[in-house]
Amino acid sequence: MLSVGFRALFQRELLRFIRRPKNTFMPPAITNVLYFAVFGIILGGRIDEPVAGIGYILFLVPGLVVLGTISNAFENASFSIFHGRWNEYIHETLTSPLSYVEMVVAYVGASAVRGLIVGVIIAVIGRLFVPISIENGLFLVATMVVIAALFAGFGIIGGLVARDFDDLTVMNQFILRPLVFFGAVFYSLTMLPSTWQTVSLLNPMVYMVDSVRYGLLGYSDMLEIAPAAYAEFAPYASLGVLTLLTIGVVAVDVYLFKIGYGLTD
C-alpha cells in the first residue's frame, strides 16, 4: 500500500492544503473563535450547565471539533476531486499506474488529515477559553480518525457527483450543516422531550458528536438515554458502527473510481 506512487499522491494532496493556510486553516480558526466567544461566553454565561458538572463552553468543545473536522474533511476531498475534474488535471493521477485503491486511500487519507488538523486547531482554541482534560484518549483518537475518514470518503463521492461548484456548496450548506447543528453540538439530548430524543437518534451526527464528547469529556448522552442493558457499551457500539460505515463508504469510492464514475467518458 505504501508504494512510491501512493506516497507521491498522498504528499501532493497534503501539500495542496498545507501551502494554502489562508484558505484551509484560517477560516475555521476564525469561525470557531467567534463560536466560542458568542455562544460560549456571551450567551453561554446565561445558559445553565447542560449537564451537571460541565459548563456550556466545555460542552461545546467536542461538537465544534466534530463540526470542523468533518466539514473540512468533506470539503477537502470534494474540492480536490472536483477541481481536478473541472480542470482535468485529475488525468495526471488517472493515467498513472496507481491502483484504484491507492488513489482513493491517498485522497481520503490526506483529506482526513486536514479534518484532523482543523479538529486540533479548534480544540486548542477551545482550550484558550476553558481548561480541558482528555478523559478517554485512545477512544477519542480512534473516533476522530474514523469520522474524518468517513467524511473524506463522502467528500470523494460528492466530488465525483458534482456538476459544478454550486453543487459542492449545496452539499456542505444544505445537508452537512443542518445534520451537524441538529446533532447535539450545541445542546444535550437529555434536554429534549423524549420524542425528539428518538428522532435525533436517526441522525448519524449525533453518534459522532456523542462519541467525541465521550472521548474528550468522559460524558455521553448515550450512556444516559440508551436502554440500561446497552448503555455501558453505547459509545463503543457507535464507534464500531461508524468504523463499518467508513469502510463501506471507502469501498464505494474505490468502486466509483474503478468504473470511472464522473472521471472517464
Binding site: A8, Y89, L94, L98, T264
Partner: protein
C-alpha cells in the same frame, strides 16, 4: 515482443453515437505512427481508451501486450501522453508537477527531481521551473505537456495534436525532439491535422474517419494511391475534347489547355503525347502535377465508400504496354516537368 498498440474491433459508443467502430489497429514497437483524420474522427477517443480516460464499449485494446482494463497498471505505466488540452495541476510550480507525475509512476523523489530538471531542459523551459502552469505562455504550456509525457521515460509516447496552434520555431523544435526520441527507441503515436507533419515524421499513418480506419500505409505508399494530372498546352485550341486512351480517368479542355487525370503521370505522358499527335494536335507545353498527400487525405475522408486505389484503373504495366516506340523528342519535356512537379 508484443506490438506497442494492438486493438481488435474496438468500439466506443456514446448513446447512439459510435465514436469508434470496430477499430483494429497495430502499432509495432519502435514505430513512428501517425493517426490522421478530420475533427470527430475518433482519434482522441482512441488514445483516451489506451490511457484509461475512456472506457471502451467493446473489443480489445493492448499496450505492449497488457490489456488496458485488466492490466491497466502495466499498460498505463508504459505510456507518456501529451494531450490536446492543458490538463495540468495548477496548484504547484511546474517542476513539482513533473515530480508528482514521476512519483505516481513509482519513481523515488530524488530521481524524480533529477528527471524533472532533465526534461525541462530538454524542452527548453528549465528557467521557468518555479513558475506555475497558468503563468506560462501558450508555447511553453505545449512544451510542458511534452515534458510531462517524457518525465516517466515512457516506451510509448502519445502526442495528441502537439503542434496545433504553435509557432514555426516550436513546431520544428518538437519535430526534432520526437524524432530523436524515436531514434532512441521510443514508439511514437502522433495525431495531427497537418499532413506535412505526418509525411515528414511518420513511418506509417492510419487515416480515420467517423470512428473507422479508412486505410493504413506509409506516407509514400499513400501518395502513389493518388492520381496525377498531365496538363498539355496545345498550339491550336481544339473545338472538341480530344479523345485519348483508357489510361485517362478524366479529361478537361479549357481553351488550348487540355488536362488529363491519370494514375502515373511520368509513365503515361509519352503515350498521351503520341495519342494527341496522332490525332493531329501540336504540343506546345506539358506539365505533370502529383496529387499531394493532403488531397489524398481529403479524398479518403470525404467519401470513404469510394475506393481511390489503382485497382479501378489500368495498371502501370497495362499502360506502359500500350506505349509506342520511344520518341525522344516527346519524352524529354515529360522528364523535365516531372522533376519540377
Amino acid at each position: 515482443m508484443p506490438p506497442a498498440i494492438e486493438t481488435t474491433d474496438l468500439v466506443k459508443e456514446y448513446g447512439d453515437l459510435r465514436a469508434l467502430q470496430e477499430l483494429s489497429l497495430t502499432v509495432e514497437e519502435g514505430e513512428f505512427f501517425g493517426l490522421l483524420g478530420p475533427n470527430g474522427a475518433g482519434k482522441t477517443t482512441f488514445i483516451n481508451t489506451l490511457v484509461g480516460l475512456v472506457r471502451k464499449t467493446g473489443g480489445d485494446a493492448r499496450v505492449f501486450g497488457h490489456d488496458v482494463e485488466d492490466d491497466y497498471r502495466q499498460a498505463r505505466d508504459a505510456i507518456g501522453l501529451a494531450p490536446q488540452e492543458f490538463n495540468v495541476d495548477r496548484f504547484f510550480p511546474i517542476r513539482e508537477v513533473l515530480m508528482h507525475k514521476a512519483g505516481y509512476h513509482g519513481i523515488p523523489e530524488e530521481e524524480a527531481g533529477e528527471r524533472a530538471d532533465e526534461v525541462l531542459k530538454r524542452v527548453g523551459i528549465y528557467d521557468k521551473r518555479n513558475e506555475r502552469f497558468d503563468w506560462l505562455s501558450g508555447g511553453m504550456k505545449r512544451r510542458l505537456l511534452l515534458a510531462r509525457a517524457l518525465v516517466t521515460e515512457p516506451d510509448l509516447l502519445i502526442l495528441d495534436e502537439p503542434t496545433a496552434g504553435v509557432d514555426v520555431q516550436l513546431r520544428h523544435d518538437l519535430w526534432e525532439l520526437v524524432t530523436e526520441l524515436n531514434e532512441e527507441g521510443t514508439t511514437v503515436l502522433l495525431t495531427t491535422h497537418y499532413i506535412e507533419e505526418a509525411e515528414r515524421l511518420c513511418d506509417r499513418v492510419a487515416i480515420m474517419n467517423e470512428g473507422r480506419k479508412v486505410t493504413v500505409a506509409t506516407p509514400d505508399d499513400l501518395k502513389t494511391r493518388g492520381t496525377d494530372t498531365i496538363s498539355v498546352r496545345l498550339e491550336d485550341a481544339p473545338s472538341v475534347t480530344p479523345s485519348v486512351g483508357g489510361y485517362a480517368h478524366e479529361t478537361t479542355l479549357e481553351g488550348d489547355r487540355f488536362e488529363v487525370r491519370v494514375d502515373d503521370g511520368g509513365s503515361t505522358a509519352p503515350q498521351l503525347l503520341n495519342d494527341l499527335e496522332a490525332a493531329g494536335h501540336e504540343i506546345a507545353d506539358l506539365e505533370i502535377t502529383r496529387t499531394s498527400l493532403e488531397e489524398i487525405f481529403v479524398d479518403l475522408t470525404r467519401q470513404d465508400d469510394r475506393t481511390t486505389t489503382r485497382s479501378d484503373a489500368p495498371t502501370n504495366e497495362e499502360a506502359s504496354g500500350n506505349e509506342t516506340a520511344g520518341d525522344e523528342g516527346k519524352e524529354t519535356p515529360a522528364r523535365e516537368q516531372e522533376g519540377i512537379a
